[in-house]
Symmetry: D2
Subunit: 359 residues, 4 copies
Amino acid sequence: MSSTFGTVFKVTTFGESHCAGVGVVVDGCPSRLPLVEADIQRQLDRRRPGQSRLSTDRDEADSVTILSGTESGLTLGTPIALLVPNKDQRPTDYASMQQVPRPSHADYTYQIKYGIRAASGGGRSSARETIARVAAGAVAEKLLRERFGVEIVAWVGAVGDVDAPDVDVLTVNRAGVDRFDVRCPHAESAERMMAEIARVKAAKDSVGGVVACVCRNVPAGLGEPVFGKTEALLAQAMLSIPATKGFEIGSGFSGARMLGSRHNDPFVPKDGRLGTLTNRSGGVQGGITNGEPIVFRVAFKPPATIGRAQDTVDFVGTPVTLEARGRHDPCVVPRAVPIVESMAALVLADLALIQSMRQ
Amino acid sequence: MSSTFGTVFKVTTFGESHCAGVGVVVDGCPSRLPLVEADIQRQLDRRRPGQSRLSTDRDEADSVTILSGTESGLTLGTPIALLVPNKDQRPTDYASMQQVPRPSHADYTYQIKYGIRAASGGGRSSARETIARVAAGAVAEKLLRERFGVEIVAWVGAVGDVDAPDVDVLTVNRAGVDRFDVRCPHAESAERMMAEIARVKAAKDSVGGVVACVCRNVPAGLGEPVFGKTEALLAQAMLSIPATKGFEIGSGFSGARMLGSRHNDPFVPKDGRLGTLTNRSGGVQGGITNGEPIVFRVAFKPPATIGRAQDTVDFVGTPVTLEARGRHDPCVVPRAVPIVESMAALVLADLALIQSMRQ
Amino acid sequence: MSSTFGTVFKVTTFGESHCAGVGVVVDGCPSRLPLVEADIQRQLDRRRPGQSRLSTDRDEADSVTILSGTESGLTLGTPIALLVPNKDQRPTDYASMQQVPRPSHADYTYQIKYGIRAASGGGRSSARETIARVAAGAVAEKLLRERFGVEIVAWVGAVGDVDAPDVDVLTVNRAGVDRFDVRCPHAESAERMMAEIARVKAAKDSVGGVVACVCRNVPAGLGEPVFGKTEALLAQAMLSIPATKGFEIGSGFSGARMLGSRHNDPFVPKDGRLGTLTNRSGGVQGGITNGEPIVFRVAFKPPATIGRAQDTVDFVGTPVTLEARGRHDPCVVPRAVPIVESMAALVLADLALIQSMRQ
Amino acid sequence: MSSTFGTVFKVTTFGESHCAGVGVVVDGCPSRLPLVEADIQRQLDRRRPGQSRLSTDRDEADSVTILSGTESGLTLGTPIALLVPNKDQRPTDYASMQQVPRPSHADYTYQIKYGIRAASGGGRSSARETIARVAAGAVAEKLLRERFGVEIVAWVGAVGDVDAPDVDVLTVNRAGVDRFDVRCPHAESAERMMAEIARVKAAKDSVGGVVACVCRNVPAGLGEPVFGKTEALLAQAMLSIPATKGFEIGSGFSGARMLGSRHNDPFVPKDGRLGTLTNRSGGVQGGITNGEPIVFRVAFKPPATIGRAQDTVDFVGTPVTLEARGRHDPCVVPRAVPIVESMAALVLADLALIQSMRQ
């Protein structure tokens, strides 16, 4: 019931770890947008595990096929269905865990909710589900870029206690982000983050982190008042990503500590429009974009699957010690970067189309 | 287009500051629930300004009328329309500001979006809009309490730099919260917060803060995978409240700094079900409630309207100095407490009804 | 759960016979549309009973108030809430019927569905609910007329066995329709229909009829493929009106008897666009408007409330003879004319706004 | 934007004639329902062309794959994605028509709406799109049958001027319907219909018809008041099927000719519940099911593609004579039978789940 996101640029995802594939239907994309599989594959490749020493060793060549909605490289205005087949499933790696609900995983809650679980445990809570978001997000991003000039760039802002210093939101770009495996554009921080991840991996442990994101050139006027505020939809989008625990926009939680006289963003003339001198609002005022960069941050918890032994109980309450044997990421934030970008693109594409009705 | 929230327990709000009234239609509430105006008025009274020295001096006696959907004190299963007339409008207080978009208000973005603005400036971004949320939330809360035993309690967790120490989420209750005007249940912190607000008010400034919230006795199994995760809907709900800048659930942003071995919540037997020893998950795993208390925090920025002079520009870019003359709150978090509770109730009522279809 | 209609021009209705009032929230209407209560009252007056000898004697002065969404006679882009208070309720007229579910009324089904019924019997199935549709429809119609030049005219096409001959869909207008109480623009048929209604009324019986409708100047390209076809949404809209039993567009049921060689509408050049020589398609092809007039018909059953004695059983199955004492219409189709127009306007306003996103 | 149908049992379709395939995502199906591909294939086979001499000669072996949402033959509660690859595409058959919009096809309206067309002409208006409806409908039907005992049977009620006499809605079944290629369960009428179709085919023409349908054992209490009335949703569902021109429920258009004293359905005790003596209501009262069989009829126009020469104009208005060369059905109603059943199942599955929340 909840696999659909968006009002007019509407995506519906499907698929879990051990079925035929993961995919998405994008309904509401305007016609005549140039779109080929390579446009989508690029972001999928950034999401894929096995890209570096930092992440899991699995080589999942997630290859996307456009099933419908385009002809001769142009969108038809009809639903665009995208499919990424599941290749490397190895269900046995997880099998031994099945008697025991893994702590801080979704095994227990899925069992309670559905009375049945997929072989992989938490069903749709699996990281593979995010493939569909990234595929759909790539379509949204192409639309935003071509029709509105929007640029979306996310990066790793923190790994555990290693924070990157403030990044220049006006200039940060994907090439700079991808320069380091950890996807932090600040070289020195990147080195420290990678060292931290290596340390945690060696300790058979995992670590959390923060992904930051900027959306530039977003037209002013997007976002719907009340329940459809830009930041509200971004918050839903981000907290729907597995392993997220928090969202903040502009000044965020630190804004709660500030005085109004310091927090307010005074208006100034900018390129024939009104801009703001500071951007504590994070690009939105009253839920509506004001033309300044949208800036937000997303907190990710440490991955729940760890190699270290954990004391817990099985489904009937008997104490057991659990030790994960499967492959697992010590830190998800580098791979989460394109996922955050994709969810941001889905929100903005929807809002941009909705607003275009008014003009 | 965005004044509707929820899938089966669905609310649609209307109204701005200077029209006839603010109201809401609650569609999808089950029949035969006892409901009278007093059930709703109680929370409206907690939201109202003019309750204490801490907030604005306006005495807005927001009195609710049930227009439809009940007979003889029972719901009929038909839409419940609730109306709170606007009494004290005084549009002139705001009039002089109209040539100048107030910094960090929605005057500018509403003008860009709609090409027209209500006399009050930011239209639906006004605090009065939240009356409708609280009225609807009171209905949702009654349903949750009577049918599921759910208890929702919010409180002020911080004002500016004054943080309350950890509150016991298993026992905190509204009587304790309301003991102090500032709605912090910890006496010493409450005194310091009130002093801070008084200081800020005297300085014609404003200050931000944090509202924390716990939802107890929430059945396990609520929440929909992927885009309808419990925390995703709570995040949307909270970030849709005016002046919010952030949301975190369970460990939140501090969870991003932790190791998995410490962050994971081991399972333990509890009252014939599986519970967790710790609750860094904040009551949800994989987006689905696990039966533990749902615990989250919401960041509020300092109110944008301040008495101090601000340098900014008018709609055509001419520099001006702006000084607010109208009444205004130096800190909104005490009044935001019932709003946060109401939005949480709307999310959970919807999810509880959706899940009841499966059983 | 079903009191909302539309995707971007979205209306939510509320109210039953004996509550404070009936109303609607119109969300998604563009800003800066001139709108005052008189724009809405006109259609409400056409819907009202007691306008002529043909209908019930109740004088319900249904007077509308705009609660929100406009200022100085212009829409703000925010939700427009409209309220029509209930004045003349006389619940006692219906009271004696309450032990017995009235045949072909909704008393029984509401009791089964909700386990409770409003004093009026069928709750939201009451004719008064249509006030909200007409009020919202008047807003939609104003938008369609001012922004797109659309004209919508409905009329009575049949009363019982009295059929009006084909009406010229290019020229029929409301003044012509309203010339006769029965709202048939063909004088001779109107006389015969009125005689039929008088005869039925005298016999304490009721009679069904057909409302026909044309929508002119509808832009080509409206309507969404698959489930949102123009005719599909019109069909839903019309069958949602109380007492309707059928819908047909263009050739309708008689088209099912035709050969393709005769049914197909050949294209011809018209005013710089392609038009069709005939219009058996009824203005839509593949669910999308083609610029020709949209023409459809709606079947209404005879009103279920009749003065004649009926043999039936009460709620526990005991045989009873039922005789209605309240006031009741012998034929609803004349009053249904503005309701049909209103529902058509709601469908087209939504589709027109959706399509405007693509251009 | 309109490829999604349903509120809680929600289907999203995709695919056009010449892309990789046609499919559907079914979101909201309860878990633990036995479901394998054969459950779906059965109805797909009934929809397929090339089953008899009556329909087109194409042999499209439409074979369905379950991509996600089941494991070991049971649904998981997660989205069920179904894919039917396109095999036999032969786009050249249609190519010569591309300069000329085919009369009463969607070529013209798709061009106007999207500024681009699929090679097949009318894109999503193609008959192949209905594969996705039938696949999804088979899932809905399985749910309705297993959880509620609902039976849905459709049949051909008329071909051109050949009407079948009244069929016994209490006993008609699919085996009886499928006894004749034309899918009319009345032997003599079936022979006459088949003769009519053969005659029309020989004349290179096409003919319309009517599909009737009954839904038995539908629980009382389904359907939502106002816009979600059972008959309103059925009407939308049916008019969303390509080539439909009308819908009627119960007495339908003939009910418009009746007197109330004859049309009303008196209540009678039936098996410990209240039933009705007659069923002119068609199983619904006030939009809510009353436990009697739901009976409705759908009008289909003659297929627009005919072998006979037609005078029309091309896209720029130049007169041309058009003669279809591709394969085409002279009459679609036999194949429409499973499509009508499927759409009815989608409506009822959604309503049944929604109502189960109330109990």
